[in-house]
């Protein structure tokens, strides 16, 4: 049958059932999606995709005959798949949406969560802006729109230009939850940008925005000396955002290091975002990325793969090299 004819017949079929209202018995399919003890299917947030693919390949290389597959999709979709049983491990943030908690309860499914790493959000301004510290309340008020001028927070007398990431961004989700509060709204005056636009366009002199700590190093195009220092930071001591550097003076053009900074990070309540301040809990704008599994019967392969994510020499080291904050210190 030609393709177009098949399509036509298929749609005729659909239309026919639409007219009658096909009777579909309500309920869930009962198929064992993981019939082999040697295979594991992981679905989840693209933010964890790179880490998951690395862990999958590492595990398979160490254990011939096992199959560990990774498919990226939205965190909600991944969690749903885990709950209804079409996959074995889900990657997402540390919060389960309410409708999925209900679905799990309805299907009598219990979930177990393992936090894999943390990611901090850095509030950024232009290097020429003298503001270097804001309280969490001030950040909240700025992004909600109740504080509108830099002079209200110790800066020049000019209107604050608020930039935020698109609502589809996972970083925005964290920002919304941690800074705005669940029911609070972003100021309608905010300009919405994509991560790419931020990377390519930089930040304007009177603007305020936010980026993930792991992106911090990549976004600030480094001069040669800075690159060396950052490489050292990432691999040895972790990342530290310098919130104390003064705005570049009149002779800034002469100093290549001053030129190099595109985004200036601010401290929140006196705490600069860094691997250390996230780890010790003093930095307030943090999200956790987690793995979820079902608690029904022992599944050695799932536990073993989660173990790889949590291993200091494997998953946690990978996390640190990416610029994210592992759950505990790793020897880099």
């Amino acid at each position: 049958m030609s393709r177009s004819r098949t399509l036509a017949v298929l749609f005729a079929l659909v239309a026919a059932t639409g007219l009658v209202g096909a009777w579909l018995p309500v309920g869930h399919a009962e198929v064992d999606a993981q019939p082999s003890p040697h295979s594991l299917e992981i679905r989840g947030s693209g933010a964890m995709g790179g880490l998951a693919r690395a862990m999958a390949e590492k595990y398979m290389a160490d254990h011939a005959e096992t199959v560990v597959t990774v498919q990226t999709c939205g965190a909600t979709q991944a969690l749903k798949s885990l709950i209804i049983g079409t996959s074995g491990l889900a990657m997402g943030t540390d919060e389960v949406p309410e409708e999925l908690s209900k679905l799990a309860a309805d299907l009598k499914v219990e979930l177990k969560r393992t936090d894999v790493y943390r990611d901090a959000l850095v509030v950024v301004v232009h290097p020429s802006n003298p503001v270097r510290d804001l309280s969490l309340k001030q950040v909240r008020d700025i992004f909600r729109g109740t504080v509108t001028r830099w002079s209200e927070v110790g800066g020049p007398d000019a209107e604050i230009e608020v930039f935020s990431l698109q609502a589809t961004s996972a970083t925005y989700e964290v920002f919304k939850r941690q800074v705005l509060g669940a029911d609070a709204v972003m100021t309608p005056k905010a300009t919405l940008v994509t991560g790419k636009q931020l990377r390519e366009g930089g930040i304007k002199p009177l603007a305020v925005g936010y980026v993930g700590l792991s992106q911090w190093v990549r976004l600030n195009k480094p001069g040669a000396a800075k690159a060396e220092r950052e490489k050292k930071e990432r691999l040895e001591e972790g990342i530290t955002v310098d919130c104390t550097s003064p705005p570049p003076g009149a002779d800034a053009a002469a100093d290549p290091n001053a030129q190099a900074l595109i985004f200036q990070g601010v401290s929140i309540g006196g705490v600069c975002p860094s691997t250390r301040s996230v780890m010790d809990g003093t930095y307030p704008i943090v999200r956790r990325m987690s793995l979820y599994q079902r608690v029904d019967g022992p599944r050695p392969l799932t536990d073993a793969v989660v173990g790889y994510f949590m291993d200091e020499t494997k998953g946690q080291l990978h996390v640190a090299k990416d610029g994210n904050v592992p759950m505990k210190a790793v020897k880099r």
């Binding site: 007219l19 018995p25 198929v31 082999s36 597959t69 999709c73 049983g85």
Partner: protein, 290 residues
């Protein structure tokens, strides 16, 4: 099943409410979706019906998107998908099961101009002499591959090599790896008319062995050490990178059901996921996932 029988089934559904549910207990199974997957399922269906002689299983193409719609309307029992269900299509009663992965390897002659040992620079030769394996592989981007096989890039010079013509080799349209290749590399389009068409896998291998300027493709199972396999986007093609999803010229096949499907549908799914089902798929060059 002929178009007439198909239309008859449609008529039955239109005229007899509840006919669908009767059809279910009479052991018919209607599967539709991605055309490539529909063909790959043929041996699985044959084996399944041998084990369930009273069952009648029909597999039709029509595309993944149409199949999801048809599935949720109850018009078909199982959707055969070449992609994960999209967020907008998803709901708690849609169960999609990964059944295998499909990949395409890009292959070239060992005397390819981009490699040391071809007409490459002295530097590359020196690297090879030092034992640095890197110069023995070709690394191409998806964009470059699309350009090569759509005729937009015609000289190795445009890929950083010497000024020699690129000879693109493709398989006959009816071959399964041809369909996979078109969908994975050319976004569903056909290769440009200037690409040389070969009949069988062996013909592809022979042609590339003889033609230093050639570039072609093979399915995962038919790889041979006699040809160079290109990295794509910096990723080596192997079983692990295809299963992890890192290798870009690979995709995942799913079978999906909606609400409470018939027992036959559940049995068919379970059979496809079983060792037997997986082996049947692997025989045709797909990558088993269970």
């Amino acid at each position: 099943m002929s178009a007439r029988t198909f239309a008859a089934l449609a008529a039955c559904l239109a005229l007899a409410p509840g006919c669908r549910s009767q059809t279910k207990t009479q052991e018919t199974l209607l599967i539709a979706g991605n055309a490539s997957l529909a063909r790959y399922l043929e041996p699985v269906v044959r084996e399944f019906t041998a084990l369930h002689p009273s069952a009648s299983v029909v597999v039709e193409p029509g595309g993944s998107t149409a199949a999801v719609i048809a599935l949720k309307r109850g018009a078909i029992d199982v959707a055969a998908l070449s992609r994960l269900v999209a967020a907008e299509e998803d709901d708690p009663y849609l169960h999609d099961y990964q059944i295998c992965r499909d990949g395409i390897a890009i292959v070239l002659s060992p005397a390819n101009p981009l490699l040391a040992g071809g007409e490459a620079s002295a530097l590359a030769e020196a690297k090879a002499a030092e034992g640095k394996e890197k110069s023995r592989t070709v690394d191409l981007t998806k964009r470059q591959l699309e350009d090569i096989f759509s005729g937009d890039v015609t000289s190795w010079k445009q890929l950083g090599g010497p000024d020699r013509p690129i000879n693109a080799y493709v398989r006959e349209k009816t071959s399964r790896s041809s369909r996979s290749f078109n969908e994975l590399v050319l976004d569903g389009d056909d290769p440009f008319p200037g690409a040389k068409v070969v009949k069988r896998t062996d013909d592809m291998i022979e042609a590339l062995k003889k033609d230093p300027n050639g570039i072609g493709f093979l399915s995962v199972r038919k790889l041979t050490k006699e040809l160079v396999v290109a990295k794509v986007e910096g990723v080596e093609m192997n079983r692990l990178t295809m299963l992890s999803g890192r290798y870009p010229l690979a995709r995942t096949f799913y079978l999906a059901v909606y609400m409470k499907p018939s027992k036959l549908a559940e049995e068919f799914l379970q059979f496809t996921l079983s060792k037997t089902g997986q082996e049947l798929l692997a025989k045709d060059g797909l990558l088993a996932v269970h």
